[in-house]
Every structure is written in structure tokens, then in C-alpha cells.
Amino acid sequence: MALLQIAEPGQSTVPHEHRLAAGIDLGTTNSLIASVQSGSASTLSDNQGNDILPSVVSYQEDNVLVGQAAQAFSIDDAQNTITSAKRLIGRSLSDIQSKYPSLPYDFCGDENHPEFVTRQGKVNPVQVSAEILKTLNTRAQAALGGELTGVVITVPAHFDDAQRQSTKDAAKLAGVNVLRLLNEPTAAAVAYGLDSGQEGVIAVYDLGGGTFDISILRLNKGVFEVLATGGDSALGGDDFDVVLVDYLVEQADLVRPLSPALERQLMQQACFAKERLTDNEQVDITLSLADGKDWTTKLSKQQFNELISTLVNKTLRACRRTLKDASITVDEVIEVVMVGGSTRVPLVRSEVEKHFNKPPLTSIDPDKVVAIGAAIQADILAGNKPDSDMLLLDVTPLSLGLETMGGLVEKVIARNTTIPVAKAQEFTTFKDGQTAMAVHVLQGERELVDDCRSLARFELRGIPAMTAGAAHIRVTFKVDADGLLSVSAMEKSTGVESSIEVKPSFGLDDSKISQMIKDSMSNAAEDMQARMLKEQQVEASRVIESVQAALVADSRLLNSDEIASIEDMIKSLAQVSQADDVKAIENALDKINAGTDVFAERRMDSSISQALAGQAVDKI
């Protein structure tokens, strides 16, 4: 006979439901999805047994291909086949064209919102990333047998705000719920740290296809504290290919512009040669030229090392600076973890070893370690491990500030500040009777506006007319746990809160995204309605569950009237969420949120005092 189950006092009597969650490594060259199943994290494969999905999307006559299937078209149909979209996400057209002058795409759209012209019409990099996410999501649902509660998507640690926001937009477009954006090196540290149980300072050297990150972390009793992070969002293994392509173009006496197909062929040959040079001292490279003839050359490892040495040195300079930011010496670093396919290049390994004075750790597959770490974090965030001791404390990679008089940047939040963070700074008017103020938000380390990245501009209107310098405008910067920034402003002396309008300098605004979601659905209006209803129902059940659990755990913080009123609100929310009136559910949610605000605040404060009480006992 089966034994009867009895719940622990104070705990829900409903047996814990395992929520499906996954970690996604949305890479420049390849993407992966992983999940924790029966306690261990592993990557999920498609029905052909491949876990690596090339980050390639091809727009064909009547369908969209993703991954290996799309890759087949990358030479012969280069214009309609987008590779490495991650390098273009959240960037301006002139940025893209100056950095990658020989891309085989036909660009359109305006300066800050570049798009590709494909045979299926205009497509932007966010949509391309969304296709990859959709494919991975479908794969995970098939492998895990149900819809996912949410995913953790990894991004390069020093991705700026526009790049992070665009990644989140891609998820929204793909219909994937994002639990957290997680920095790639931090994800790798989680996979490594939980595996090894090491404590102390580690460095994560992450050289991917298109990005380079270096993070210094302190591991202590389940806490992963990022001390500093640095790198380059436009430096990766692809750049090794680019210098090699330039070298080949010169050697073969080719004159640019070349056909898109030849450019693609050159890139593929260069990449192939790079990979073979890991285990060979010399390789042959053959190109089929337009005149039907073949051109062949030999390339030695020594020649290749010379071509890429400047790029490798650039990564080491970032390592030096990041160690300094972390106030850590090379000797204090107990381990260097290598992440990213480009760390297979022998020169990279030997130079990193020389710099850190110890052999780097390559035991975990550098292609999979990020997805594995993201899966572990996703499992915890979904609520499957309520007793987990793990905590990730990450930082802002770049300083955030505002434009002041004379084109200078006033920093409000310094780089390597632990997130979440909220900081306010006060400004004043420049002229008598000034009633509006242009606020320009910037990201970067340099002192001049022109050298920093413009994130957003907004205008603060309705400032009461006063003499110059009399108004006190308080601008508040908030960075959440995803590393995303929001900015608000108010005039202090009169208490007048003025309206603000944020116009993102790059990426897409909310209305454009909902338009794109609508466009992607066949029965736009009904589908949209269904989607909104489902979102509200999910939030309603989440709220009911959490308020009920809170009442069981902490009803001592409430008097009997308060309890009764909260129970009423739960009942009416449960009732309306059964029906299909989106507005009514929204109203009931607003009501219960307002009605439990004080309770939630009291609970949080009580857990703060309990946290230290528990610690005091530990110390004794």
C-alpha cells in the first residue's frame, strides 16, 4: 500500500509541480538550448540528434529555414540567408557598414533601424533572432513534453542596453517568456562552479564567434559575485576569419567588390582553415573563382598566428584592465575558465596561459558550458529549487550617464556596479524661465558625448518658469536584474512631476513590436486577443498562488480584517480569471496588487531581519 503524504506545516499541501524551463545560448555562430532534467543539466537535440543549431536563417519563397537547413543556402543565396545576426542586433546602419563593409546583404530602413531586403520582404535583426528562438523553443517543447514556463537567455556581459533590449524583444516576438537575461561568462561560471565546488576568485575568458568577454568572479558558499567585467562587443573568432579573408584577397590578387557568393566562399574557407590549424601545422586553401578556375595556396600556423596576434593582444589588454577594476592580482586568480569555440585556437590558449601564469581550464565543452549554466539558473528561477543556496550577483558592464552642457557626459552609474541599482542625480536649468529640458542618456566610459553610445533621448516638459539654477530636476536611473535601464525625471522644488517621453535611439519601440507580433499571426486580431487573455490568466494564477502561500506563511503580519479583505480579493480574481474578459482580469489584478502592497512590503522587511538573525546564529 502506498504511504499517505503529509505536507510540512506552513507549506502548500499541493505537491510541487515541476515547471519546465530552459537555458538558451543565443550565439553569433551557433545557438543551443539546455534544460535540467532529473537533477542534471544537458543540452537538448533536434530529431536528427544535433544539439548545435547554426545561427543562420534563410528566407525562401514560401518558408523560413533555420539552422543546418538554412546554412545550405548561405553561399548560393547569400542575400536571403542571414548569418551572425547577433553582431548586428541593436546597432546602427553606419556602425554595421563601417565594421563589416563586405556583408552580402541588401540593407534598407533608416540609420537607427537597419533592415535586410529579402525575397520575403524587409526583415530586421530582431526578427532573425526571433526565428532562432522559435526553433529552439519548439525543440524544447518536443523534448520536455510541454510548454515552457520560461527561459534564461544568455548575452555577452558587455552587451549595451540597446543590444540587451533587442534580445528581449526577439524573445517577445518569438512568444518566449524570459525569466532573466544572463551574462554569458556568469553562466559559464555557474556551470563550472557548481561542478567543481571551488571557492575563491576565478576568471572567465569567453571568446565567441563575434564577441569577447572577460569576467572576474568570487565564488563563496553558492554566491557568484561578479567583481568586474570587460571585453569587446565586436571582437571574436569571426574577426580571425576576416583578417584571413583580407589576406587571401590580397594573395589571390582579387579586387573588391566581389560577388556575395565569393565573399561567402572566402569566409567559409577562412573559417575552415582556422579550424584545421588547431591540429595541423599547415593547410591548403582552395577557392573556385568566377572564371571557373581554382586558386590554391598554403597557410602555416605561424603565418596565421601573425595575422591574428593583434586581435589576441587586444583581448589580453581587456583582461589586464578588468583585473585592475576588480582590484585583483593575477596571482589571486585560482582558475581561468575558457568559454567559446574560438578558445580552441592554439595561440589564444598559449597567450592566456602566459598572461594568467597558469594553464586555462578547458575540461568543460566550451561550446556547451554557457547553455548548461543558463539551464541551471532557469531551473532555479522557475521555482523548482526553493531551497537552493545559489545566488548570482552581476554588474553593469558600462557606465551610464547624461549629457550636460558643453557635450560632456556626467556619469550617474559607474561600470561594474552591482545590479539591481537605482541612483539619482540632480540637475538645474541653464536659462531664466526655462520650462523644458532635453535629457540625453548615454552609455560608455569616455568623457565626450560623441564618444559614447546614445541610448535614449527624452524631454522633460512643464517645469515651472524660474530663474536659472533655481529648479531642481532629479533624474533617476534604474538598472534591473536583466541589466536593463529605465530613466525617469521630476522637478523637485515644486513637486511637479513632469511627463517624459522616451525614444530609444536604437532598436524598436513597443508599438513596433506589437505590430510585428500582430503581423506574424494569421488571424491577427483574434490571436492577439487570445495571447493577451492567456498572459493575464497566467499572471492571475501566479498572483493567486503567491498570495495564498504568503497568507499561509506570514498571516501573523496581518490583522483579521486585513486577512478577510485579501481573501475576498483572491476569490474575485479567481472568479474573473475563469472567464475571457481581459479587462476584468486586469482590473482584479490591479485591485489585489494595490490591496496587498503593504503586506508584500512587510513580508520582505521581515525576511530581511530574519536573514541576519539566522546569520547571527550561524556565527555562534
Partner: protein
């Protein structure tokens, strides 16, 4: 609740950083948004607020100059605005000398040695000011608090110089 109470440590300048750090981690384990990722939007919002507040408190107490400033403000000492003129002319003269010394580094025959020497001088003078400030803070009377406030302002000059040294070092590495 002030920052010292928040971390349950004694309100002195000379704090145990190890203790501060473990209290900080314990608090973040209780309120960090990651602990509420599957909770309602309301709980997520409050968690972000509390977590940001604890981060701010931790950074303030961890950094010696910010900690000193926080203690003095808590005691009701009037912190002069950073833009206010500074009366101590001999100190300002010394700052100009140090700046010249820094500017001369790139013309030195041995740049490494020159840079090292600047760093050594700055660090010695910083240490002297810092220890007298520490004594003044612990004395805790109206005159000593004012004197500590003066020294804190001077230390901020050194902090700025150190940033310049870092910049110079970076630019020398670049080449």
C-alpha cells in the same frame, strides 16, 4: 534603519569587511529578484527596490571614503558642496605639484619608474591623510568632525588623481 543597522554591524569607521560582506550576501539571498522570478509582478518590483537599496548600502559602507562621508552626514555634519572653493592654499599648491609630476611621466626616460614613483608618492600622502581622518572620526566631537570633513575633501582630490594615473597607464599601455 541606517546602513549599519541594516547590516547589523557597529557604526564605526573601522568595520570588519568580512563581516559586512557575509551580512550583505545573507540579505541578498533573502531579497534578490532572482528569488522572486516566478512570483507576482508586485513581489518582483518590491524585490528589485529592496535589493537595489541593499546594494547601495553595501557599496557605501565598503568604500572607505563613502563610509566616512556617510558617518559624518549621519552625525549631522554639514558637507560642503564639492564646487565650493577650498581655503587651504598650501594643499592646493601641493595638488598642482602632483599634477605636474603626473604630466611629466610621459616625458621621463624610464616611464615605468616615473609612473611607479608617482603612485608611491600619492599612496603615502593618501595614507597619512586617511589615518588622521580615521582618528578624527573616532574622536567624534564637533571640532574633530569638521576636521575629518576637511580631510575627506582632501582625500577626494587624491582619488581624482588616482583616476588620472589609471587613465595615463591605460594610454601608455595602448601604444
Amino acid at each position: 534603519m541606517n546602513y549599519f543597522q541594516l547590516f547589523n554591524i557597529e557604526a564605526t569607521f573601522d568595520i570588519d569587511l568580512q563581516n559586512l560582506s557575509s551580512s550583505y550576501q545573507a540579505l541578498q539571498k533573502a531579497v534578490h529578484p532572482d528569488k522572486f522570478a516566478h512570483a507576482s509582478e508586485q513581489e518582483q518590483r518590491i524585490a528589485v527596490q529592496k535589493s537595489a537599496h541593499i546594494n547601495d548600502a553595501y557599496q557605501t559602507l565598503k568604500n572607505p571614503l563613502q563610509r566616512a562621508e556617510y558617518i559624518l552626514i549621519q552625525r549631522g555634519v554639514d558637507m560642503p558642496n564639492e564646487q565650493n572653493t577650498f581655503g587651504d592654499t598650501s594643499f592646493l599648491m601641493r595638488q598642482m605639484e602632483l599634477r605636474e609630476m603626473l604630466e611629466d611621466v610621459k616625458f621621463a626616460s624610464d616611464i615605468d619608474a616615473a609612473l611607479f614613483e608617482v603612485q608611491r608618492v600619492l599612496s603615502t600622502e593618501y595614507q597619512q591623510l586617511s589615518s588622521s581622518m580615521q582618528v578624527q572620526i573616532s574622536e567624534n566631537n564637533s571640532a574633530s568632525n569638521d576636521a575629518a570633513c576637511d580631510n575627506l575633501r582632501k582625500l577626494k582630490f587624491y582619488q581624482k588623481l588616482n583616476i588620472e594615473v589609471d587613465r595615463l597607464e591605460d594610454s601608455l599601455f595602448e601604444n
